[in-house]
């Protein structure tokens, strides 16, 4: 620590060069933060999935509906604890660009199987009581500036009402949050009964079932029992864990994790070259100064540590600024405004970033530091 001042001042020997290097590190870790958050959202969807939840949907396609009568038959399967259902409403608010997810659901059942969704008791009661009311996730409320009691017109591109209209009018009964900070709140929940009675077609069908089971170890056998029950029917089902369901959805986008890893690898490789070159130049220019330090009694190890500390400090300053900016942007400024659930920079990502900063600092500085360490005083002083 007593060398901190010396290291810090040496870092600013060439201000413009140091600032440019720190800027490049800043950009690298800004990218690291943003891409990591995206990766978290895609890869993390499976983490967020509850191991005790299974999803039952049409075997052919999620677009096909299932009869609502399946609910009691699924509920009767041994090992099933609670069954809820949801359907795709496909609406937007005022402008087609204002798309967000809405699901007609059985309120009590849905909240039972998604206990991580939290809503004040009074608002919950109000929603259960009023059939044309909805509860809206915090992200959506923040996006549109809504508040409890507002009436909101939602245009559905799929579901025409019996009167021929496509605009559904709802009252906001409550706002829900997700106990998991990475969890999704970018959707709205509608009374299924109100929706089913109001729609012009498709009555008595639902999109998919969500069920909780007693024991995660029995997930495969429960899923098999459900699908067997509907085998050879007009609406065969496919039941899987929520994690597998999430994975299959993510798989449609390609291997996001691999793409992100490749981009970050390229970025970090470039940063190592930039920072390594900067440190090499810095050491080359300071050979007489380093020789003076050695003359004064700084041993080889101290000189090595001083140069390594400089390169690590460049990485830490740029990296903390970059990752800090990414964290503020993702977790604060864009919180709830990103239509992809789970976009979040967590403590694990920040810790990983710090480890990368330290590693990059050491890798970028090791060769210049080694050169500085090996300087012969008599030769180096002759550079004056």
């Amino acid at each position: 620590m007593k060398y901190f001042y010396l290291v810090w001042k040496s870092l600013w020997r060439k201000k413009v060069r140091t600032i440019l290097t720190i800027l490049s590190v800043f950009v690298a870790f800004l990218l690291f933060g943003l891409l990591n958050a995206l990766n978290q959202a895609f890869g993390g969807a499976t983490d967020l999935a509850n191991a005790q939840r299974l999803i039952t949907l049409d075997k052919i396609s999620i677009i096909n509906s299932l009869p609502s009568a399946y609910l009691s038959r699924i509920e009767s399967v041994a090992g099933v604890r609670r069954v809820a259902h949801a359907s795709w409403f496909g609406g937007y608010y005022q402008d087609p660009r204002n798309q967000f997810a809405q699901f007609p659901v059985d309120p009590e059942r849905y909240l039972d199987v998604y206990p991580e969704l939290s809503i004040p008791d009074g608002q919950r009661e109000e929603w259960l009581r009023k059939r044309d009311s909805v509860i809206v996730g915090r992200a959506v409320v923040d996006q549109f500036g809504w508040s409890v009691g507002d009436r909101i017109p939602i245009y559905s591109s799929i579901w025409t009402k019996k009167d021929g209209g496509q605009v559904w009018d709802f009252e906001i009964a409550g706002v829900f949050d997700n106990d998991d900070p990475r969890g999704n709140t970018a959707f709205m929940l509608i009374h299924y009964d109100y929706f089913d009675e109001g729609r012009a077609f498709g009555n008595g069908t639902i999109g998919w079932f969500i069920l909780t089971i007693d024991d995660t170890a029995n997930a495969a056998s429960v899923a098999n029992a459900i699908d067997t029950q509907f085998a050879n029917s007009p609406n065969e089902t496919k039941t899987d864990t929520e994690a597998a369901f999430a994975e299959s959805l993510i798989g449609q986008y390609g291997n996001i994790a691999l793409i992100i890893t490749l981009i970050l690898s390229a970025v970090f490789f470039t940063i190592l070259l930039v920072a390594g070159n900067t440190m090499a130049q810095s050491v080359r220019e300071r050979i007489p100064e380093l020789a003076v330090l050695k003359t004064l009694g700084f041993d080889d190890g101290s000189v090595l540590r001083i140069v390594l500390a400089e390169s690590t400090m460049v990485m830490l300053v740029g990296g903390i600024l970059g990752l800090g900016t990414a964290t503020i942007v993702v977790n604060v400024l864009l919180a709830g405004k990103i239509p992809i659930p789970g976009v979040y920079i967590d403590a694990e990502a920040i810790s990983l970033g710090l480890v990368y900063m330290l590693l990059a600092g050491i890798v970028a500085g090791i060769f210049p530091a080694h050169r500085a360490m090996r300087l012969t005083i008599v030769d180096a002083l002759s550079h004056v």
């Binding site: 007593k2 060398y3 001042y5 010396l6 001042k9 040496s10 600013w12 020997r13 007489p288 100064e289 003076v292 330090l293 050695k294 003359t295 004064l296 009694g297 700084f298 041993d299 080889d300 190890g301 101290s302 005083i377 008599v378 002083l381 004056v384």
Partner: protein, 229 residues
Amino acid sequence: MNIELVKLQDISRIYQKGQEKVEVLHKLNLEIQRGDFLALMGPSGSGKTTLLNLIGGLDKPTSGSVIVGGEPLHTMSSGTLSTWRARHVGFIFQFYNLLPVLTAQKNVELPLLLTNFSGKERAKRAATALSIVGLEDRAKHYPRELSGGQEQRVAIARAIVSDPTLLLCDEPTGDLDRETAGEILELLQALNRNHEKTIVMVTHDAQAAGFANHILHMDKGTLAKEMAA
């Protein structure tokens, strides 16, 4: 009573330059008494700086022994020599060799980073060293804001801050005008007389050498003769 501080016995220093071996010092013997102020003179390439480097533990002889303060420098490892230098020797160079990114105060504090002194103690000692060289009012100035003479005074303060026994000066006035050089030499003389520092100074300048107690002339790697200062 004279007490021997430096004793060089049969010192040779040979450098390998490509295929060629260059003998810079040849079987040189020298004793320097504690409290002495010795000037080393001689033409370029006579081995003055090499001799200074050997006495200061910056270099090792090819053969022979270097004993300073009773310690055999020629047998010490690089790490031990670093520690020894930090404790016992102060170096003053022709071009001052101050770190441009540090203020005068922080430059003087540099050798104290190798001690266990607290930051406050380091600052106090550096301030004392700066006051000895008459630069207490320039403590916050960077080297670029100082004149050549002032820079050399800061370098002297840095050399004496850890209270070494031995001061080694390599052309300390070589980059200064006559008047400033005189001031620096008077300062070195005062350090020798009032603070009992043993000083070995390499110089080309006979007038500068006149400030020393003894003058030794070197030629082709050997001591040519001793002259009274």
